[in-house]
């Protein structure tokens, strides 16, 4: 990526949000230079794009401390988060809008790092940044930088994602290890040093989703990415939405040993810890092993696992069989998980 030098200022100040020359400076020297593409280069109020089919739109705001963490930063997260949300609809993400709210005093070198990280993540995800906005707020009225992205994607021609399609005995599959992102953020935020470094799993999932839709079409009944609230909360939402029960086995849920140990140490339940590179899909029993195989052959699904199934027993509840064969309910997360006394 081209190095951005000699921009003439070291920190963002209120003038950069004024809409005048300084704003233009910030946009020209950093934003337009980084994201240059035919839509953005028109420097219009917005962009006009073409879609042939139904489109999926998703928006998300990213507010995170610290803004740089092991395995990513707020920039790549803002791309992956929205790209994945569009993909979870069964669409192929194509365009992103990008809006910054920057706190006065942010180092320009940090801003450039974030912008370049956005560019890299967008390129890797196959999406273009086509419109955006920049505001600067007074020191103390923001938390370094907030980012909003809105994603636009064309629906996959074979996609028919609908909870109405989910039946008893359908199988629930996750693509990867859970709880990595939340534990990476927590260890960075709290300055906790674990024996092995835990990295965020922030990544784009759209290519794996597309492969699954190409191969299995409308037999894929649901995609959902358990970001905040974790796997437990999303499973609970699904059980509620479909008015059926969900049964999972604790020992089948993929989790890295070091992440499990860190959760253990802090008294956190990995089922409720945030993810960024994880999604779950619900498919009929007949194709479950083929779906699993396709996922395991893909770089974003190497650790995929079948974790449970849909049942007509205990409607609207998630029941988990524990490692020793006991059963318990998985309830939704209330508030934030908090570190315990002992």
């Amino acid at each position: 990526m081209e190095k951005i030098v000699d921009i003439g200022f070291e920190t963002i100040h209120l003038g950069h949000g004024s809409g005048g020359e300084l704003t233009r400076n910030l946009l020209d020297k950093i934003i337009f230079k980084t994201f240059s593409n035919p839509f953005l280069d028109q420097k219009h109020d917005g962009s006009i794009v073409e879609f042939n089919e139904k489109i999926a739109i998703s928006t998300d705001s990213f507010v995170i401390t610290p803004i740089f963490f092991k395995g990513g930063d707020i920039g790549s997260l803002a791309v992956h988060g929205t790209v994945n949300d569009v993909a979870m609809c069964g669409a192929i993400p194509k365009y992103l809008s990008l809006a910054f709210i920057i706190e006065e005093g942010l180092k320009v070198s940090d801003f450039i790092k974030i912008v370049q990280s956005i560019k890299k993540a967008a390129d890797e995800s196959g999406v273009l940044i086509i419109t955006g906005d920049t505001k600067v707020v007074e020191r103390g009225k923001g938390d370094k930088i907030f980012i909003n992205t809105t994603g636009f994607g064309e629906m996959h021609s074979k996609a028919n994602i609908s909870i109405q399609n989910i039946l008893e005995n359908d199988v629930i599959i996750v693509n990867s290890f859970i709880a990595q992102h939340g534990m990476a953020i927590m260890s960075d935020r709290e300055g906790l040093e674990f024996e092995t470094t835990i990295k965020s799993d922030s990544t784009n999932l759209n290519y794996l989703v597309k492969d699954l839709l190409d191969e299995f079409g409308n037999n894929i009944k649901m995609f959902r990415d358990p970001t905040r609230g974790g796997l437990g909360t999303v499973l609970h939402e699904i059980a509620n939405d479909i008015s059926k029960g969900v049964f999972i086995k604790e020992t089948d849920i993929p989790i890295e040993k070091q992440v499990a140990a860190a959760c253990e140490m802090l008294g956190l339940d990995p089922l409720y810890v945030a993810n960024e590179g994880v999604f779950l899909t619900i498919v009929s029993k007949e194709i479950a092993s083929e779906v699993l195989q396709l996922m395991r052959n893909h770089s974003k699904g190497k650790n995929a696992a079948i974790i449970g199934f849909v049942t007509n027993n205990h409607p609207k509840k998630v029941v988990m069989e524990s490692s020793i064969g006991g059963k318990r309910i998985v309830s939704p997360l209330v508030g934030e998980q908090l570190p315990r006394i002992c």
Partner: protein
Amino acid sequence: MKYLAEYRNLEETKKVLDEIHNITKHEWNIMEICGGQTHGLVKNGILELLPEKVRMIHGPGCPVCVTPLNLIDKAIDLLEKGVIVCSFGDMIRVPGSKKSLLEAKALGGDLRILYSPLEAVAVAKENPTKEVVFFAVGFETTAPANALSVLHAEKEGVTNYSILASHVLVPPAMEAILDDEFCTIDAFLGAGHVCAIMGTEEYEPLVTKYKIPIVVTGFEPLDLVQGIYMAVKQLEENRFELENQYARVVKKEGNVAAKNVINQVFEIGTREWRGIGEIPNSGYVIKSKYKNYDAEAKFNISHIKVPENSSCIAGEILRGIKKPAECAQFGKACNPSNPLGAPMVSSEGACAAYYHFSII
């Protein structure tokens, strides 16, 4: 994960469960003192795998649940007066008489959630013009670190630091439960973490006086079923002894260095337990030598006294007289989003365990 994975072994756990079924002839009520053990039992679905004749009664061993309402209001009062209040995470959602610490934070209070009281001393050093108070609650387990923070502040010459202490002790609580006229407890599982600090010696007089088995037990599924097995075996054989299932962590004499730190800063005194009331000699109070580090003495907050919510039966839950589901408010007026009492909000509370994990 050494010492954890092997204590989650399915086959081993099943073997011990089978043994419990084999040896149980009579009906027994066993109380696990510690909230961590309550959660272990419910979260792993152990209660349903036990014989019907073995009933687990959940004890008062949740540090958050037994912290008196008065003290939460005192912490909130300090926060509202501009003091930086530092706390472990699970205290901040517990309702005081009008609001929780979390709600007081949203209204502008400077509340810091920390992992260690030593971090609070660092906060005091970074904010020399402000007073910093650590909300020091817990059983014997957290007392050494809280005492150490006082010694550390003294050594560093930090004068704007103090602790709002509410340390309670397990053996006097067990005695209070056994003296209760409604007590039906036949045996205890002792709290492994507490015994790791204090050792097992102080339980021997209880075993002798009340002729009751006490098995010091850990927290993993295999720990818990082994502890229950050892307790049931004693009961069926008409024995009453102090046994240690958690020998990989707990020594008879405990952690001598930790006990020394506690004894430097604290002395035994009367403490109020939420839902239970005052129990003589049931907790630690700060020695007069360290009164400059005692937030109760330093700030004018001793007048703050408030009654408990009358519709909450936390006291009966904590004494094992009633189970969470026997409360008329359980899961209705009282739930984790709107808790009436601490056992529903604390991560170790019995009501929260039942609400979150069990199939009711």
